[in-house]
Symmetry: C2
Subunit: 247 residues, 2 copies
DNA sequence: CCCGGTCCTTGATCCATCGCAAAGTCCGTC
DNA sequence: GACGGACTTTGCGATGGATCAAGGACCGGG
């Protein structure tokens, strides 16, 4: 797990062109926009000059739901929590954003969710209108971004199925395997699955209570399916987890 | 409840215009593509020549989940049910498509859901690749379609909140007021709210069982909040419904 | 007008998950 | 190295919605 913490280093070195959170592409060139979603290099190069760095400390707000959406973001390091809250305080965490993920890509006038940082986060900020104009001029790029939004929509439908029809065990298992896959895609796969979010965040993501999340994880641990370790879990019985999360 | 059946004649003349699937725009011209989502006329005119009519009978399948997505559709009349099914038969109805709604707009390689008709349906079919090419050449149009997808994504997040955190009463109330709004937007608003889908569809949409849906509707009826009528409901106490569905 | 099928409603009971309360753990700070 | 605060775990009892089991309403066809 300590490997993952390495690139974060000093969180903020302002004006220098190559701060710690720049990711490297295959050629070793520093990149501000890190697109695990596999935007072609040419498109990344188009976007890059438009961006400004943003750094967030732990638990800082990036933007709030219904605020005028004046920026689009691409996460560089750390993780964001995306959520909505009802007037009475009930919360639904709609998702988490990891390095490479875009946030606010649907470019509506107002943000559909609130976003804050789980730990220290760096991201690229794009001024929405400029982003929009640029993208408008590059149909290929726009198609790619549209496709990314389409994938997010498909995942939203996975979530509906999960929230509407699956049991607590299945929700937890699906959550864990889903995280695994995301980590693999951003090259962070490892024996231990890091859980940068707390139990309450998981509960509010999966439509459960914190107690049910805790109990379910404990049971999976007791059954030697996973091993609860500080900061995450280690998957012991992958096939059982896959079975539970099968869809 | 039997009282309610007395005074209500035949309130739901099936909303089939003649010729059934063409909608009229302000000028009275017949249109194949009916875009309640307010695509500018110019953009509709661009799309129209690409489309082919599709007609479905009751309960016919338009496409199945994971099938290669070779078409994009725009519903003209009737309503579609969009859903996913787990291997063991549990179903999540992710939504319903009404006249003006696009289906398959995210243009992934495979359909993210299955779609079938609740009653007779007509729609415009666009060959996906041609649609894609055309749209690529019209950045403004593509932005609009992207925005529509963004709105769908936002509604998907509403659904997550609903499925993850709201009570059965609230789910039903939210479902009803949501339908009201959609009907208003397509100019179908009326005292009685037509429910073209069965109780089981509502249950599978809201993450409930058919019994809970039936009981909840019955209770709202008993409490004089709504009136259950054949084919739909009449809203009696709008403010209570709005209160329950408040977000 | 009756028959059979499908859908809807209602009652009785069950159970997965919730809600509350009390420890327990971790971690940073003084 | 002990204190405080935030988070997590666990036990126990409560409950909203599920499940099981009858009926009832509606509808099309013969």
């Amino acid at each position: 797990m300590s490997i993952h913490l390495l690139p974060v280093g000093r969180p903020f070195v302002p004006p220098v062109p190559i701060p710690p959170s720049y990711l490297l592409d295959g050629v070793g060139k520093a990149r501000l926009v890190s697109l695990s979603t596999a935007l072609p290099l040419a498109e990344r190069d188009t976007l890059e000059p438009l961006s400004r760095r943003v750094s967030l400390d732990q638990k800082e707000t990036l933007f709030g739901q219904d605020e005028p959406a004046c920026s689009v973001f691409n996460v560089t390091s750390g993780a964001l929590r995306l959520y909505r809250i009802l007037p009475d305080g009930r919360r639904q965490v709609t998702g988490f954003a990891f390095p490479g993920d875009f946030v606010g890509l649907s470019m509506l006038d107002r943000y559909a969710v609130s976003a804050d940082s789980l730990g220290p986060v760096t991201a690229c900020r794009f001024e929405r209108l400029a982003f929009r104009d640029l993208v408008c001029r590059q149909p290929g790029l726009m198609m790619h971004l549209h496709e990314i939004t389409g994938q997010e929509l498909s995942r939203a439908k996975d979530m509906m199925m999960l929230l509407g029809r699956r049991t607590a065990d299945e929700r937890i298992a699906t959550f864990l395997t889903g995280l695994q896959e995301r980590y693999v895609r951003i090259g962070r796969s490892s024996v231990t699955l890091e859980l940068p979010m707390g139990r309450l965040d998981i509960a509010d993501h999966l439509g459960l209570t914190i107690e049910t999340v805790s109990r379910t994880l404990s049971r999976l641990d007791r059954d030697r399916c996973i091993l609860i370790v500080p900061g995450g879990v280690r998957v012991i019985d992958q096939s059982r987890l896959d079975l539970l999360s099968a869809h």
